[in-house]
């Protein structure tokens, strides 16, 4: 039984695309057949993060509009063979997506893959609503910061009302992925604490991704962080989150500040 997972947030720049790539790769590394679909038509990024930008010929819009077959548009990852990418179009905009076309593509993908990871664009308009439309479950990506939390709250409301499942009276599973978390800054009160975010959003916690330069490094070389540096903090956190998505029960590790007070101060003055 295939699962459609939407990675969404409302707010831009919180790490949806990074998380889609990392979770997709981690699920594929766990042996699942995974496709990551870029719904950010006009502002496509997922191909860059996945290092497939030079292999794009056909895209989601071509398939939705019937100009290309799904098999022509899918790009198989060179590092993990069970991982595929369905890129977005950069030259079109979100209006090029039709509800019927998206439904047809999702149904077709369900036949081929175990997991369909939909990377939602920011916002609450057509692109975002179509990305979440057919989802069975959602990963809500949130930064520990008030505007991101409020936007996530808005998106959760939409997930509960505008998705096909919600309209059919069913529930959609929602998970919180807290990204860019810095334990030191949270302790100093410069960021919201995990419990504050959980209290406001009231959905189960899928994982906490520590704020780390490993994420930026991986993005710049076009490789999901779980593949680029599997032993890094973010990679391990994403891998654990993926195992939780697969139904395993693992306690969430809280990122802790390991440096001593002195070294942190010296570290900061050098940086």
């Amino acid at each position: 039984m295939s699962k459609v997972l939407v990675v969404t947030s409302g707010k831009g720049g919180v790490g949806k695309t990074t998380s889609s790539a990392a979770l997709g790769a981690a699920l594929a590394q766990a042996g699942k057949n995974v496709v990551v679909v870029d719904f950010d038509v006009g502002l496509r990024n997922l191909d860059l993060i996945m290092g497939a930008e030079r292999r794009v010929v056909f895209d989601l819009v071509n398939v939705v509009q019937g100009d290309a077959k799904l098999a022509q548009a899918l790009i198989r990852d060179k590092r993990v063979e069970t991982l595929s990418l369905l890129p977005a179009s950069q030259t079109r905009d979100k209006d090029a997506l039709t509800p019927e076309g998206v439904e047809r593509v999702i149904d077709e993908l369900r036949e081929k893959f175990d997991w369909i990871v939909c990377d939602s664009p920011a916002g609450i308009e057509r692109g975002a609503t179509l990305a979440m439309r057919h989802a069975d479950m959602a990963v809500v990506v949130t930064n520990p910061e008030v505007s991101s939390v409020r936007d996530s709250d808005r998106i959760i409301g939409l997930l509960d009302s505008k998705t096909a499942r919600a309209e059919a009276g069913e529930t959609i599973e929602k998970h919180l992925l807290l990204t860019r978390y810095d334990a030191t800054r949270a302790a100093r009160g410069e960021m919201l604490k995990v419990e504050d975010v959980l209290e406001i959003l009231a959905i189960p916690l899928l994982g906490i991704i520590p704020d780390s330069e490993d994420v930026l490094k991986a993005s710049n070389v076009g490789c999901p962080v779980t593949l680029h540096n599997p032993l890094s903090g973010p990679a391990r956190a994403y891998a654990e989150a993926a195992r939780r998505l697969l139904g395993e029960t693992i306690a969430v590790t809280m990122p802790v500040e390991k440096k001593s007070l002195m070294s942190r101060w010296f570290g900061r003055s050098v940086a």
């Binding site: 936007d151 709250d153 808005r154 959760i156 409301g157 939409l158 009231a202």
Partner: protein, 225 residues
């Protein structure tokens, strides 16, 4: 000018209707001379004297009786009060319409039903951007109301959770409406059109269980201890 009262059979029911009419428009018969026309009662078995007695017991000033054989009234105070004005028969009298008195037995108006106060229960979080509008009555929320969400109620608002968004109560002129929440972190509170933003109540009540009410056009907040 005299009023002509025409009792009709069945007399008991007619009398009940008259009592209701008198209760509704008290003072209608006060100081007004009344002529009782018993012609409609000719077929009934009621004793004309008792009919007249019943009317007099209701403080009707009977100055004359017509439409009855005067012999039947022999020995009563009304004997001889008959107005046998020749030519009256067949000439229609001018009737004064007693308000609603015409119906012989108007059905008893049902007692006013107690005002029903419907309420709306929401047992899930109200998310940012969601607007719950319930003009008919009270709204109860079990769960938080997020920043950027709003609850708008015709009556009172009860929130068992943190209120971070807006609560607008007493939409339908309900100055009696109140807002209750177990934890105050609201952006805006309003009752009966009077609103205040978070600046107004400062930090003192923040995070506390609070009730909000209207006191002589002044929005008041107090911690629920």
């Amino acid at each position: 000018m005299a009023l002509i009262v025409v009792p009709e059979p069945p007399f008991e029911a007619w009398l009940t209707a008259l009592d209701q009419q008198m209760a509704r428009s008290a003072g209608f018969f006060v100081d007004r001379p009344v002529v009782v026309n018993l012609s409609a009662m000719a077929e009934a078995d009621d004793d004309p004297a008792q009919v007249l007695a019943a009317l007099e017991a209701r403080d009707l000033r009977i100055i004359g009786v017509e439409g009855v054989d005067m012999a039947a009234l022999r020995g009563t105070p009304w004997f001889g009060a008959t107005l046998a004005a020749p030519g009256r028969e067949g000439k229609p009298d001018k009737f004064i319409d007693l308000p609603e008195a015409a119906a012989p037995t108007p059905p008893e108006p049902p007692p006013p039903e107690p005002v029903r106060r419907p309420s709306l229960l929401i047992n899930r979080p109200v998310r940012s951007g969601q607007s719950i509008v319930f003009e008919e009555g009270d709204v109860t929320v079990i769960g938080p109301v997020s920043s950027g969400a709003e609850i708008i109620a015709g009556g009172s608002i009860h929130i068992y959770g943190t209120l971070r968004g807006r609560a607008v109560a007493g939409l339908l002129g309900g100055a009696e409406a109140r807002i209750f929440c177990t934890r105050l972190a609201a952006e805006l509170l309003a009752i009966d059109g009077l609103y205040r933003t978070a600046d107004h109540w400062g930090h003192g009540l923040q995070g506390k269980p609070v009730q909000v009410w209207l006191d002589d056009k002044e929005l008041r907040l107090a911690a629920l201890e």
